[in-house]
Structure formats: C-alpha cells, structure tokens
Subunit: 386 residues, 2 copies
C-alpha cells in the first residue's frame, strides 16, 4: 500500500464536489477570493498595511495569494510557522508572539540568515529583557560577522491579560535594551485585544477599543518622551479592524479570519464601519445514522474545533441544529431531519484550530452544490507547534 | 531546507528529556507500560477479551504493543483508521462505528481482501438496513468470487443517544438482513455508553450501567427468541470497564484511555472494582511570558484538546492552575508562579483528540525530570478522518 493514503482525500482537480470523501475541509474559492479582495480594498482605502495572520490558514499558498493582492507579509505565532512560511516563499514574516528560549531564537535566526540573500525580513514581538538579550545572543551565535537587522515590536497588554507589558512606562526598559544592540531595530508596538474581537455588540467593541487606544497612546507618549520613535503600531483582528483602521494610531492590521469567516465571528453584530465577509470554509460531512428523533453525522471535534462553540449547518437555519459533538460524531436535531447518507455542510465554530486538524483544504469553484474541485491547498504549517 | 522539518521535534533517541522542544507530546513509558500490564492482567483475570480502542492513540506501534501483551486486536472508528492500523501490521480490526456509504465500504473491503492471505479479520458495527446492504454490495463489487466473511455487530443505543437502534425488537430486522448474505457473519452486539464513563461517582456509573445491562439482555433475549445467537457483547470504556467485566454479559472490553489516563478521567471517583491507572501522557511546555499576577505558557489548544476541560499542571497541585487557553497560549495563575523559560508538564483534559493534534509522541524512560528519550512513536493515524 502507499504510505498514508488515508491522509489525502482521494479527490483531485476537475472532479465534482460530490467526489469529496467525508469529513473534509472545503473552501468555497469564489467566496474566499471575494473576502480577500474586500479586505485588501478596505486596507488600501484606509491607508493601513494589511499583514494577515497565517496562524489562521497555516498555508504558504494562501499567504502568497494574500501578498499578491497587496498584503505586506504575514504574521505567525511560532518559529515553526515562520519556517513553514519561509519554505513556501514568504519573504516578510512577523512573529507576533514572544519567543524567549535561545534554542528557538537560534533556529529563527538561522532561517533569516539562510535566506538573507533573498531579502527576507523577520520581525518579532518581545515583552521581557531576557527575550531581547536572547535574541541578540542568537544573532551573535548564528551569525557573528553579519549585519542584518531583526525588527522588534514591544508587546503591550491592552486588556487581553496574556502576554505583553502593562501600558505606559513599563515599555521603556525594553526599548532601552533593544537600543543596546545595533542588529535589533525597535520597530514599534504590538497591541492586540483578542477577546474584543468576539464581543457581540458594536458598542461593546467600541468601548473596549477606546481603552486600547488610550493604552497605546500613553505608551507611545512615554516612549517619545524618552527619545524613542514608534514607527508602527500593529494589531487588530477580524472583529474590530474597522476601528483600528480609522484610529490614526494603528498602521497595520493583523486580521486573519476574514478570509474564511467562522460561525463565531458571524454572531457579532455587524459594524457599519467595516465590510462584511462571507462564509468560505466548510466541513463536508454526511449522515451515518438516523434514529428516532435524531440524525448523526460523521464529523466530530477531530474534524472541526469546538473551543468557540459548535458548528452551524449551512443553509438549514434552525430546522436542523448540530446539538452535540464527540470525537468522531455530531448529533443533529431539528424539525427536518436529513436522510441516511445525505450530505451536510458545516460552518466551523472557529476556523484557526479547525484548519490545524487537516492536511489539506479542498478548493471548490462554482459553489458547494454543483461546483468543481479546482485546487488542493496544503496546510503546510499544520502541526507546526514549536 | 528539508521538507517540513518543523513537524518533527528535533529530538532523537538517547537524548535527555531536556532536549525536547516545546510544546511536545511526551509519553512516560514506564507509566504507560505499567498501565498496559495492569489492564491486560485485569481482563485475563475476568476472562474477558481486551480490544483497546485505537481511536485514542492512533498508533499502530502502540496497538502492536497492546496485542503483544494479550489484546485480541483493536477497535477503530473510521475506514482510514482501519487502513492505518492494517498498514502498521494489525490483523484484527473492528470498526466499532457505522460506515454506510458504498464508496467507503468498498475501500474497507479492498483492504480486507488485499490482506486476506495474511489472515486479517475485519468486523464492523451496523444500525441500518442500508448499511448492511451496502456492505454486502461492497463485498460483491470488490470481490465477487471470494468467500471471506466480515463480522457484523448490531449497535444498540444503551443511553448515549448517538448511533444504534433502540434496545429490544429493533435489532431483529437487522439480524434478519445480515442472515441474507452468506459473507456477513452476525457476531453480536455493540453496546457503549460514552457519557457513563465520565459520571463522577461510582454510584452514578453503576446505576447507568444497570440500565445498560437490562437493555443488552432484553435485546439478546429478543434475538434468541427469533433464533439468533449473540456470540459476543462488546463495549465498555476506561470509566466503567470493571462493571462490564464482572457482568457475565460483556465478553470484550474496548477501553482505550487507560493507557494514558487523562485529567478528565482522573476526576472520577475510584471504583474499587477496577484497577487505577497512572498519568502517562503529557504536554511539555515552557513559560514564554511572566507578567504581574500571571505566567503564560506556549501550549494552547492547538497542542492539547480542551473539549473535556483545561489541562492540569503536573506536580503542582492547586498552587499553579492553567486558567485559560487560546490557540497558542495557556495562562497560568497561582500562589507560586513559574519563572520565564521554566518547563511545565501539562496533563491534557482528553487524551484522544490531543494525540490527534500531533505527528509524534516522544517516549521517555526514567521519568520526566531526568529521563532519556527512548523512542519516537509515530501517530500514524493522525488526521485519518474519513
């Protein structure tokens, strides 16, 4: 037998959507490309840079498509994701996350140095003196004679209560430390409020972001007073980017989910200040059991993540609901139960960790009902955890 | 660059546990092998067969180790998992789940026929006439001249409210349908109550299982009256197997989690009727940010599943708690916060979907503190969804 044929859906380009075995992750390419264009146009009109987060799609091919449309590069969260993007030809990569271990930083710097002749640009976030020192040490260890710089953003905690120093003066010692190393370039501030993305009303999101803006301004002012220039403030997600874009403070948007639009984001009240997006990512599933009062589909939480809630059944409204989920099963209830063998399309609760469960995304042109498979997109950073 | 080096932890056999990059899935081999022996001894003493569920570890290598110790074979949930196990040399595979599509059944039968000379035994669960007919059709389509039989278990719903026909007479039409096809062998009943595994008190689990036993007996009696012999009742999980083993009704145990023992199962009140198991599966993680009142580790829900709750921090009791989880981060609170760069070991909430997030499990001998990497175990059915 071939090595691991079971990890590849047997479908290939040109076949009907009906030929896709289940469960499988399917992209409606028409919808995705509309989302991609709408977002880039929005960024262009607001004179902000778009740097989509590749933690979402984990695909260098899709990153290249975003960059081709005007994105400046991508964000990633992990060194291994940076490697996967670099392998896929992406040349402007921002690790928007803290990497503090010397061994990890040496690996990141090795990629950077290895690709320096190809004009690669690497940036990273920091929130500790030790992280900065280890980064400088890694540059020294790997490339003692070199001169290439790494761009460093100081992360401030604007309310997410995760990484990042408190807003204000706490950024000063970090900026001073960065300034000690000629090969580290202080590039600005990382300011992302993840929970704000999912606050349901526009009023809540605007109230949270008003505080974020104050935190960023206060930090920028403190740095300016100490003689540092904040060239760029980077952040924002698919729930609030309209606010950041209009702020005059943020110069770069990191939204990722806009490309696929998941069931969780779809529950947000629409903000007239930002464009709306279509669902473009689906799990194709079929009904494997019909019993009194319920049906069971073959897609459980090994095929879609449920950290942000259960999936919705596409096109079925409230007459068919996905009511409980186990590893390999989904139980469906509703007024109109599907038949044994029937295909259903699920809109995942959260696209990022859903994509990470799959080796491939199957790109379909012409809609889910009568479309044709156009391309098989490798999730080439799937499982890139380190 | 090598193809996808980032999916392989750079550690290799013989290195110290300190050399494992994070986050990574690590097996304490000493604990795992004790669990393995304890479970097999229990099954032997109770004269029941042990057929561990490979949906848990998704590793043909570990399946072989279980079979080497006395297990009769494995259970799987998916055709692609059956393929992965067959590729790894497992020769007795039970798909304890409904497969109803002809295309999937043809694939399953192809494996069976392809390996018939190696004495492979394939069994499957059914809960519909259509599933039985398609199975017979698949045998005809793939192997019209052959004579090899597939073993068929009728699944009954003993309270899980997922797949399975209602207990009692509803099994009769299925048994009659199976009897129409000489190449299908009616092998018995599949009866599994998943939720019962996680009921916290012994009393609750015993009350639920008392009802399960009545349901099974009623179905067995109905089949017997109609002239069918129920050769085997198969089911049970790591939370209740002591009850099934002592019942005189169940002849085969399908428990899987006992091998690794997750944080969710550890919350069950111990049943004196069954042995206890040690935690053997851990996510190695390190602290990437320390901020006022909290620490942040580099393992989020892309490295461990949270469908059954957040992970626990091994060896730290309540003085350090994993309090919130995002895709790539875990936030920790407690009276004794770890230092930047410090290693912590997480006990995942649920082992099955956690393993499915990783390409490899790193087997360590001699404990997590001072141990040595002995083997890298491939999760060869990782992502086998179809």
């Amino acid at each position: 037998m071939d090595q691991q044929p079971f990890r590849k859906n047997s479908v290939h380009s040109g076949q009907s959507v009906n030929a896709i075995d289940t469960p499988a992750l399917v992209i409606d390419l028409d919808a995705m490309e509309r989302n991609l264009r709408v977002m880039q146009r929005f960024a262009d009109q607001h004179h902000v840079k778009l740097r989509p987060h590749a933690k979402m799609h984990k695909s260098a091919a899709l990153a290249q498509q975003q960059i081709g449309a005007g994105a400046v590069g991508v964000c990633v969260q992990k060194v291994s994701e940076a490697l996967a993007m670099a392998q896929g030809g992406v040349r402007d990569i921002y690790v928007s996350n803290e990497i503090v271990l010397l061994s990890k930083l040496e690996l990141l710097v090795s990629v950077f140095i290895g690709l320096e002749s190809q004009n690669i640009k690497i940036s990273i976030a920091v929130d500790s003196l030790e992280g900065i020192r280890n980064l400088a040490q890694a540059l020294h260890n790997v490339d003692a004679q070199g001169s290439a710089q790494i761009h460093v953003f100081i992360e401030i905690d604007v309310g997410q209560a995760r990484c990042g120093v408190p807003p204000g003066d706490a950024a000063l010692p970090l900026a001073r430390e960065i300034a000690l190393y000629p090969r580290l370039h202080f590039a600005g501030l990382q300011a992302y409020h993840g929970r704000a993305q999912h606050q349901r009303t526009v009023a809540e999101r605007r109230a949270t972001l008003a505080q974020v803006m104050q935190d960023v301004q206060r930090t920028r002012d403190a740095l300016k007073q100490a003689g540092f220039t904040v060239e760029l403030v980077t952040g924002a997600g698919s729930g609030t980017f309209g606010i950041e874009a209009a702020s005059g403070i943020f110069g770069e948007l990191q939204a990722g989910s806009y490309l696929f639009m998941d069931a969780d984001y779809a529950q947000n009240e629409a903000d007239p200040a930002q464009p709306q997006f279509e669902h473009a990512l689906f799990v194709k599933s079929h009904i494997m059991s019909v019993q009194p009062g319920r049906a069971v589909c073959d897609a459980g939480h090994k095929s879609h993540a449920i950290d942000s809630g259960l999936p919705r059944v596409h096109g079925r409204g409230d007459d068919l609901r996905y009511t409980s989920c186990s590893d390999e099963h989904g139980v469906l209830h509703g007024s109109t139960l599907p038949q044994l063998g029937e295909v259903i399309w699920l809109i995942p609760g959260h696209c990022d960790p859903t994509v990470n469960l799959h080796d491939h995304m199957i790109g379909v042109r012409g809609g889910l009902q009568h479309g044709v498979v156009e391309r098989i997109i490798e999730v080439n950073a799937r499982g890139a955890l380190t």
